[in-house]
């Protein structure tokens, strides 16, 4: 720590002040059998011994006595039984765990895949839900299940692990404890049968537990933990406000495509980015005009995008004329410093013809570094373009055009030269090529055959005597193919831009509609109308109602109960759920939260009349986001209206106040004065009547003053703050209550040094009311005690009596406005104590009423203050 603390990063401060989130601790091991479960149970027992509420969610003891002994004595949550293909599978019961809400839950085997039909496909997703619900989680994990290490593990052991846990989960962990066991000891344990090995996998497993494998895995686990420790140190340094010298910010970009090799590229990019603490992008380029990807390729691209996202990268699809140009433009725009690309697997000839992506990247990269990564052994399956449905019309038109050309040539007889015939055929081929590549090619072949047969000597044979005619055939073929391809490309580009345009238009139209919306229901109706319009899928918008449940706000299709559950999950977690997401992917609908907690848009994907791809989902999400913005805007407008109303009400109140204060005070002052003047001149019985008039008018005045005081403090009028000795305020209040307290013993215990930071007039009023209250509600001649003491950062002032005590019921009721005690003879307007509370609160303090030991009541008020402010006394005047 430097001598002068750095100014803290506001985000870091916010993090420090954020409410404690649930903690995730991972017991991390290099391979099965190192004792993770054992360590987890031991740690949990220690927690329980310290008084934590610990529950076992899932722990696999594999029948080992030592482990079972550790489970004994812990609370075990019953598993949820799921029937799957005739087998009963026991899974973690997340709902029961959340309902039970322990402080800590043990969930073994983080990488476990759940049985189909359970809420999430993966156990780590269950764990996220538990953490969201505020429950601490202990879990175990082996290194081979870490997403970004799958390739490395594959290389070491030759086993491709399918059950993986995203690295983001490891990063979410608050603590990772490495359970380390040297390979020799592990092998010993294996030999002694202490490691659980399922019978059917014994051979494979034994191959796995080779010393070399174990050492390599152990190193991997140690390194991963070390990286994590390094990250913790970095985080610690940030929290401790130590300025570290950060290297210039690196940014990474990885190009991905439909090839399975992209998966490896993504993982490699993540490892690189991790090492550099750099943000990274995974980019897929849709080349304008290229034929659309096949369904399989599309799914693979989406899988790669999802993988990149799950590894913490930002995945994007961009569009460009060529892959290299689009990637470089994007890289420049985002200040990317390194680009990761795959090593080509195709032959050199293809690059000669089509141009090499890598070559173009390297040439155009400038100061951006290009990393080339070798692909995995399995060759990329040829990305087969989806064959468009055969359009027979094009072929028929093409054949007709060629026939017409042949007929014209034949009818013209000798009046046309051979080149003229060629022109006719080229025209026919061009017309046919408008129907696409197939018809173009077919027309070219047909033309060549017809030309050869009918016009080239020797006629009516397919024999070609002159070699020059072969050139003509080649030209005809080339024109047919080239034109056909060109037209096909144009068609695709047109279709793609049409689709994009339709979606942009849909979003724009929605934005316009939602901007005109007057309430949340209008926005919901717009969401339904536009999503149904653009995607032809029935849609329902649910919004939370008063009791927190969701109810349909727009849309006609009713939702089934299990569909409602998906919607509720999406609403509660603020993340999309259902089809195409990580959560409940088997659902028939996609539920996307609207943002601003306004509700959920549920799109019934399965009832859609068109296939909804990633683009469609993006559109749904974009519309949902826009809807959130619109709803937030409506809410702000509502708040502004309410604020304006409040201001109006406040103005009304203050004008009422000044009217009341003038119109009531003046006559009261006149009555008081006139009656007192009259009284002074009167003797005998009339004088008593005049006394009554004066006293009652004064009482009325006091009620009026209290009414005015409460209105004033409640309206939030600003309070002056001055340091005043408590003794002075007590003295002033006592002076004004001299007559009502006459004949009572008032004991005062106030330290002369003690002062309060208050408005002296209001605070005198507070004490005065407490004293008058005590005088009013206690028998004459009972004692009253005033006490002031330091209390934390403030001062507590107490007024205690020995009267009948507080009325039955909660003590704080006495501070309610117009509350009157049971003894109606002495009751006033019931405002005195309400004023006290108002004044205390206006100073940032509080007041409470207590039943006093030995009878009576104590009123204790806390006010800011303490000792006299320090500082040099100013010089005396000369």
């Amino acid at each position: 720590m430097s001598d002068e603390p750095e100014r803290p990063d506001p985000d870091a401060l916010l993090r420090a002040q954020a409410p404690a989130r649930a903690r995730l601790k991972i017991f991390f091991g290099a391979s099965p059998g190192v004792g993770k479960t054992y360590a987890m149970l031991e740690s949990a027992r220690r927690q329980k011994a310290e008084g934590s509420d610990v529950v076992v969610g899932v722990v696999e003891t594999h029948g080992r006595a030592e482990t079972q002994a550790l489970v004994a004595g812990l609370d075990v949550l019953p598993r949820r039984r799921v029937a799957y293909r005739g087998i009963d599978l026991d899974e973690l019961d997340v709902d029961a765990a959340i309902a039970r809400k322990p402080e800590l839950i043990l969930v073994d085997e983080l990488a476990h895949s759940n049985a189909p039909g359970v809420r999430h496909p993966k156990r780590w997703q269950d764990v996220m839900d538990l953490l969201d619900a505020g429950i601490d989680v202990y879990t175990t994990l082996n290194v081979q299940h870490v997403e970004s290490l799958v390739d490395a593990v594959d290389q070491i052991t030759g086993v491709r692990v399918r059950e993986t846990v995203p690295d983001a989960v490891l990063e979410r962990a608050d603590e990772i404890e490495l359970i380390d066991l040297p390979p020799d000891e592990l092998l010993e344990r294996l030999a002694e049968g202490k490691v659980y090995v399922p019978d059917q996998a014994r051979r494979a497993i034994e191959n796995y537990f080779r010393r070399g494998n174990l050492m390599a895995l152990r190193e991997l686990a140690l390194r991963r933990t070390a990286e994590r420790v390094d990250a913790d140190v970095q985080a610690y340094r940030r929290e401790q406000r130590i300025r570290a010298l950060w290297p210039t910010r690196e940014r990474l970009l990885v190009c991905i495509g439909p090839s399975p090799a992209s998966e490896k590229l993504v993982r490699a990019a993540r490892r690189l980015a991790e090492g550099m603490h750099a943000p990274w992008y995974a980019v897929h380029v849709d080349v304008t005009g290229a034929p659309p990807l096949s369904a399989d390729d599309r799914d693979r691209v989406e899988a790669h995008i999802a993988l990149a996202e799950s590894l913490g990268g930002e995945a994007l699809r961009i569009t460009g004329a060529t892959v290299a140009a689009a990637v470089l433009a994007f890289a420049r725009e985002r200040n990317v410093t390194r680009i990761v690309a795959g090593k080509p697997t195709h032959s050199r000839w293809r690059d000669r013809i089509r141009g090499s992506l890598l070559d173009a990247l390297i040439r155009g990269s400038g100061d951006i570094e290009i990393h080339v990564i070798a692909p995995s052994e399995e060759p990329a399956p040829r990305a087969a373009a989806e064959p468009p449905p055969t359009q027979w019309g094009g072929y028929i038109r093409g054949t007709a055009a060629v026939t017409v050309a042949t007929t014209i040539g034949a009818l013209a007889g000798g009046r046309l030269d051979l080149p003229d015939d060629v022109m006719l055929y080229l025209f026919a081929i061009m017309l046919a090529a408008l129907g696409g590549r197939g018809p173009g090619l077919a027309a070219a072949a047909l033309s060549v055959a017809a030309y050869d047969f009918f016009f080239i000597p020797p006629r009516y044979t397919l024999v070609v005597s002159d070699i020059r005619h072969l050139m003509t055939f080649a030209v005809m073929f080339t024109v047919g193919t080239a034109l056909g391809s060109l037209v096909a490309r144009l068609r695709h580009a047109e279709a793609a831009s049409l689709q994009r345009e339709r979606r942009t238009a849909a979003l724009l139209a929605f934005t316009a509609d939602s901007a005109a919306a007057r309430d949340v229901a209008d926005v919901a109706a717009a969401v339904v109308a536009h999503v149904e319009d653009a995607l032809a899928a029935p849609t329902v918008v649910l919004a939370p109602v008063a009791d927190g449940t969701l109810s349909a706000l727009a849309g006609l299709q009713p939702l089934a109960e299990n569909e409602m559950a998906v919607a509720r999950w999406a609403h509660e977690h603020g993340r999309p759920a259902g089809r195409g997401t990580d959560t409940l992917p088997a659902a028939r609908l996609l539920a996307v939260p609207l943002g601003a907690d306004a509700g959920v848009a549920c799109v019934q994907i399965e009832r859609a009349r068109r296939r909804i791809d990633l683009e469609g989902r993006r559109l749904i999400e974009a519309i949902a986001r826009q809807a959130g913005v619109a709803i937030a805007r409506l809410r702000l407008a509502g708040e502004a209206r309410e604020a304006a109303l409040r201001v109006q009400a406040e103005e009304l109140r203050s004008s009422l106040l000044s009217t009341v204060s003038h119109d009531l005070r003046t006559p009261l002052a006149i009555i008081t004065g006139t009656a007192s003047e009259l009284r002074d001149r009167t003797v005998g019985a009339d004088r008593e009547s005049l006394d009554t008039i004066v006293d009652e008018t004064r009482r009325l005045t006091k009620i009026l003053e209290n009414l005015l005081a409460i209105t004033r403090v409640e309206s939030g009028a600003d309070v002056k703050r001055e340091w005043v000795p408590v003794e002075e305020i007590v003295g002033a209040a006592l002076a004004r209550t001299e007559s009502v307290l006459a004949g009572r013993d008032v004991a005062i215990h106030v330290d002369a040094e003690l002062g309060v930071e208050v408005d002296p007039v209001l605070t005198e009023q507070l004490l005065l009311n407490l004293l008058e209250n005590a005088a009013k509600h206690t028998p004459a001649a009972t004692p009253i005690e005033i006490r002031a003491l330091r209390d934390g950062v403030g001062v507590a002032i107490e007024v205690s009596d020995r009267g009948p005590g507080l009325p039955p019921g909660p003590p704080e009721q006495v501070f309610a406005k117009f509350f009157r005690g049971p003894d109606t003879r002495t009751a006033g307007a019931g405002l005195g104590l309400a004023v006290c509370r108002g004044i205390a609160v206006a100073h940032g303090g509080r007041i409470e009423a207590l039943r006093r030991d030995g009878g009576g009541a104590t009123f204790r008020v806390w006010l800011p203050g303490g000792d006299a402010p320090r500082g040099e006394a100013p010089p005396e005047a000369a």
Binding site: S661, G673, W723, V761
Partner: protein, 231 residues
């Protein structure tokens, strides 16, 4: 009632209020002149300069403070301000602008008369030479020898406490604002440091009062200032 026919100018817009004040004062031998507006009051004040002015601060044609300021340009006649509770700032402003005292509405005849007498006595005392010895209740101040006795026993005051006490005693019965006291004792630059004043007043009370939490002489006027009771 040794001073026959002192003239009191009552500036108050409420006629019934004026009537009550007039009736009370007339009974006790004062001559009363009434004004319902600022303009009227100014005319009357110049026409027949009053011995004392009772001034309501809220008037239909302007602020009573303006009249006070203009009056102070040529007259030293005591001015007592009439005001409602909760308007302490107004009272302080009026006192700082040269008013001699204030009365919080509603008030009775006895309070009114007591304040008028104090104010008139002070006005006269100012013309008389200053007596080096001031005695108020049990308190006896010898200004020449810087000595203070309470109930015959000598008490030791710091210079600041002595100055404060003398200041209050010279204006006994009259309220002095925080600002006025700070200005006199600490000088013109310290008029906002009210906590110094409060600390020294507390110390003074402990030396002069029998029970400082229930002061009999050094009275606090919350939000306004202090007053030394006039026997």
């Amino acid at each position: 009632m040794t001073e026959p026919a002192d003239t009191v100018l009552v500036v108050e817009d409420e006629a019934p209020m004026r009537r009550f004040v007039r009736s009370a004062l007339a009974t006790h031998g004062f001559r009363v002149v009434e004004a319902g507006t600022l303009a009227e009051a100014e005319g009357l004040a110049t026409e027949s300069p009053p011995e004392l002015v009772l001034l309501d601060l809220g008037l239909p044609d302007g602020d009573g403070l303006d009249l006070l300021t203009r009056l102070r340009e040529w007259s030293q006649a005591p001015v007592i301000v009439l005001s409602a509770r909760g308007r302490e700032e107004d009272k302080v402003k009026a006192l700082d602008a040269g008013a001699d005292d204030y009365l919080t509405k509603p008030f009775g005849t006895s309070e009114l008369l007591a304040r008028i007498r104090v104010a008139l006595r002070h006005a006269r005392a100012q013309k008389a030479p200053d007596d080096p010895i001031i005695a108020i209740g049990p308190i006896r101040i010898d200004q020449a020898r810087h000595e203070v006795g309470v109930d015959g026993a000598q008490v030791h005051l710091t210079p600041i406490e002595f100055k404060l006490l003398v200041l209050l005693a010279r204006h006994a019965g009259k309220v002095l604002t925080h600002r006025q006291l700070l200005h006199e004792v600490w000088g013109p630059r310290s008029t906002h440091q009210t906590h110094y004043l409060r600390v020294h007043m507390a110390a003074l009370r402990r030396k002069v009062e029998a029970d400082p939490a229930r002061p009999k002489w050094l009275i606090t006027e919350a939000g306004v200032g202090y007053r030394l009771r006039d026997s």
